[in-house]
């Protein structure tokens, strides 16, 4: 072959966060030869930053709680473009999945009865919206992501999963049939490039919040899976749907959990007014995140923002008392003191809506199998490729994700994909060998980068990209503004293609990794921009000044962005849950 080493596995999982490790655990338990490729040591994955909890109807806070109520909330939260079969699966499988995590050792906070502690989160209700606020988010203080990620890593250690830690996947390898047969990956420590061959390749690469200048996301969230999928010619779905979390710390971008408002905190403007009472009279500060984020921006635009520049609002927690804050929100106290220089026990935290979550991604079915469309526009499974977690769009979040549903998404669909691959492997899963050309094709961009002799630096280009996205594709969007942004991106494409790598050394070369990441960021950004400009309506997180209403007649559907020709198409939303009646679209108010 090309003089390159080949490592062979039954299944390879790209990404060592919650979804990847849950999938890996499932496969390792069944004895298949499984490897996790992860660009950081697994416990450094972004799941670690999740704070508030994992939403699930385990009936601890309310013994009558029902997963169907959770399903109703999620469908409504999605502004009706979440797939109801997938949401049904997530909400009904959720309790078992959460109990498994507890049995694995996850140190959940507890109620007096010894059960898992659940707190209220945004968009939650009892009895299909008729029974008032629910408390459905299972929590380990405000460090649930940390507790979950470490527990899953520990579970994988127990089951001897093979980890390729600090390895970076650069591109998919596709055979002559269009099936995925593995990835090209770099061992960061040695710089060696390897063909990792696998019968099933699972993307669990997480989000891409770093396309924006201001984000709650880790520096590693660069959309590697989306970039690889688009370069391989596969579509992404609903990629225009980006969640802006209401409470990122002003200036720093670090996340302050929705759990703060769940525990009774609320937002105030410069007059000290609890303004959410005006925008969402019932749910108030616990309305959907898109609703709260927009309300905050309107307050700021109308001159009621706080601070010298009137460009943020405040999150008030001091009335909850030191004891509650210490026991329920200890991590928030730490973060606020470090990054906002305020002590929430005494003073409010300055916050501003901050890019947080990619609702869109690689379209999949509930088994995690990646999908494209055939010539007739029907769903077609991409053989050998799977996607789970934030990189996937299964779609349970639609146009707006509810707080606490991301951790649930990770473990439910990580597990589901693992189970499905297990079954496929047991029935004998074979793909045709990749040819030398197939493999060389996947190495093209790496080769080009290694030979670069001039061009601009990664940091300059990345900053420019992030500013374009921040300015043209934010909380509120407008056609002409977006077209302007698309033009700017288009000019940036070639400059990024010519990015200069001045450090060509092999050992732990993070400059090379950052250059490869930049290309992925760009792919995500451009897909976002084009899909956003194409959706002529306001729905969920996608709010347009020039199309203020939801348009169910034309847009009660997924968008599909195809890299070839940069075309935006449509795909039907699933309205056929298996065991419950369809939740019909209604006016969405909180």
């Amino acid at each position: 072959m090309t003089g390159m080493r080949t490592l062979t596995f039954d299944a390879v999982i790209v990404g060592g966060g919650g979804a990847g490790m849950r999938a890996a655990l499932q496969l390792a338990q069944s004895g298949y030869n499984t490897a996790v490729i992860t660009k950081v040591f697994p416990t450094r994955s972004h799941t670690v930053s999740a704070q508030g909890g994992i939403t699930c109807a385990i009936a601890s806070d309310d013994p009558n709680d029902d997963w169907r109520w959770h399903m109703y909330d999620t469908v409504k939260g999605s502004d009706y473009i979440g797939d109801q079969d997938a949401i049904e699966y997530m909400c009904s499988e959720g309790p078992q999945t959460v109990f498994e995590l507890e049995h694995m050792g996850l140190p959940f906070s507890r109620t007096e009865k010894g059960r898992i502690y659940q707190r209220p989160f945004g968009g939650q209700s009892k009895d299909f919206g008729k029974g008032g606020q629910a408390a459905r988010t299972c929590a380990a203080a405000d460090r649930t992501g940390h507790a979950l990620l470490h527990t899953l890593y520990q579970g994988n250690l127990k089951n001897n999963t093979a980890f390729l830690n600090e390895w970076y996947a650069t591109d998919l390898v596709k055979n002559q049939d269009g099936a995925i047969v593995g990835v090209i990956a770099i061992c960061i420590e040695t710089g060696e490039t390897v063909f990792v061959k696998s019968k099933a390749t699972v993307f669990a690469t997480g989000g891409a919040g770093r396309i924006y200048a201001s984000t709650t996301n880790a520096l590693i969230n660069t959309g590697d899976g989306v970039g690889m999928a688009l370069r391989a010619g596969f579509p992404v779905q609903d990629i225009e749907m980006w969640q802006f979390h209401p409470t990122g710390i002003y200036g720093a971008g670090t996340l302050v959990t929705e759990g703060c408002r769940g525990e009774g905190g609320y937002l105030i403007n410069k007059d000290g007014e609890r303004f959410m009472e005006r925008y969402a009279p019932n749910a108030k500060d616990l309305a959907g995140r898109d609703v709260v984020a927009r309300s905050m921006v309107l307050e700021i635009l109308e001159g009621r923002g706080c601070g010298e520049n009137g460009d943020h609002v405040m999150l008030k927690l001091d009335h909850l008392g030191e004891e509650v804050l210490n026991s329920k929100l200890p991590g928030i106290l730490e973060l606020s003191r470090t990054f906002a220089h305020v002590d929430p026990v005494k003073e409010p935290i300055p916050v501003v809506p901050t890019c947080h979550y990619m609702m869109g991604g690689i379209p999949t079915n509930v088994n995690g199998q990646a999908l494209t469309q055939n010539e007739k526009g029907e769903d077609a499974i991409i053989p050998g490729l799977f996607a789970v977690g934030e990189v996937a769009c299964v779609s349970v979040h639609g146009a707006n994700r509810l707080g606490g549903n991301s951790l649930l998404d990770l473990v439910v669909f990580g597990r589901a994909a693992g189970k499905h691959i297990e079954e496929m492997l047991s029935q004998g899963l074979e793909q045709r060998e990749a040819s030398v050309t197939d493999i060389e094709q996947a190495q093209n961009r790496l080769a080009r980068l290694n030979e670069s002799s001039s061009g601009e630096s990664v940091s300059t280009l990345r900053a420019e990209l992030q500013n374009i996205m921040q300015n043209h594709f934010g909380v509120f969007r407008r056609g002409d503004f977006m077209q302007d942004g698309i033009q700017k991106l288009s000019a940036l494409r070639e400059r990024i293609a010519n990015v200069h790598l001045d450090d060509k050394s092999l050992t732990f070369n993070t400059a090379r990794i950052e250059a490869l990441e930049l290309e992925n960021l760009f792919e995500v950004a451009e897909a976002t921009a084009i899909a956003a400009e194409g959706r002529n309506e306001s729905r969920g997180a996608h709010a347009r000044d020039d199309f203020r209403e939801r348009d169910d007649e034309n847009w009660l559907c997924h968008s599909m962005y195809f890299p070839k020709g940069k075309r935006v198409g449509k795909r039907d939303v699933n309205f056929s849950p298996k065991t419950v009646d369809t939740f019909e679209p209604q006016v969405r108010s909180y």
Partner: protein
């Protein structure tokens, strides 16, 4: 601001050097050390360090900052550098250097794996969660929050001397996290595996670990609890 960085690239360098880099810092902001490193990397992309969450929860960027181990992302420049001084960055001490500020953490992870860092309970689980009282759950506070940054173990002379035999403060904190968990049923097995002259007893109680833990945890106290359990276990 003058930043002095430990530089070593095995591809090209015979031996490490301290390199001084001049970085312009904004006057009105107290940057974190990690932000300063990003500015350095803008000037010279070959400077290498690990980073991920940039908010002190992932544990990637443990390093030695002006003589003290800490996380670059939550150490403000005002704390790191005394007025008029320079910022001095070195890799965590006591572990092999891969390149610049990146150390080989294999032995640190190996010690963590050795204590079986997972819940062991061979009884059949109930249909729901295993119950645990808030009081029993509270016993895990101050233990489970560890982020495996290695600031503590690489600040411990006993770990420098016997990194292959002494578990070190980070591993022992997790050993106690499972010993303290009322849901875990493997206390005897766990204690037997720790019961030798090195694994636990190389701790001299000098509390270097406590002094640098960026999460404010106290491994020395946890080690004290393990010692008591071992003594009881032996009798």
């Amino acid at each position: 601001m003058l930043v002095s960085i430990y530089r070593y690239n095995p591809d090209t360098d015979e031996k490490p050097v301290m390199q001084d880099v001049e970085v312009e810092l904004p006057e009105d902001k107290d940057l974190m050390v990690l932000d300063v490193l990003a500015l350095v990397k803008q000037q010279d992309s070959s400077v290498v360090y690990r980073r991920s969450c940039r908010e002190g929860v992932c544990g990637s960027d443990g390093m030695n900052i002006n003589g003290t181990n800490g996380l670059a992302c939550i150490t403000p420049m005002s704390t790191a550098v005394k007025s008029g001084g320079k910022l001095v960055l070195r890799p965590l001490p006591g572990l092999p250097v891969i390149r610049d500020l990146v150390v080989d953490m294999s032995i640190f992870y190996k010690q963590y794996e050795k204590i079986k860092p997972y819940l062991i309970n061979d009884t059949a689980p109930p249909a729901i969660e295993r119950l645990q009282s808030p009081e029993d759950r509270a016993k895990l506070d101050g233990l489970y929050e560890c982020i495996l940054c290695a600031c503590c173990s690489t600040n411990c002379p006993s770990f420098w001397w016997n990194p292959d035999k002494f578990i070190g403060p980070a591993g022992l904190l997790q050993a106690y996290r499972f010993l303290a968990d009322t849901r875990d049923t493997a206390d005897n097995e766990r204690l037997s595996e720790l019961d030798d002259p090195f694994s636990v007893f190389r701790c001299r109680g000098i509390m270097n670990c406590v002094a640098v833990c960026p999460k404010g945890l106290n491994p020395t106290r946890a080690i004290g609890h393990i010692r008591s359990m071992l003594i009881e276990h032996g009798t």
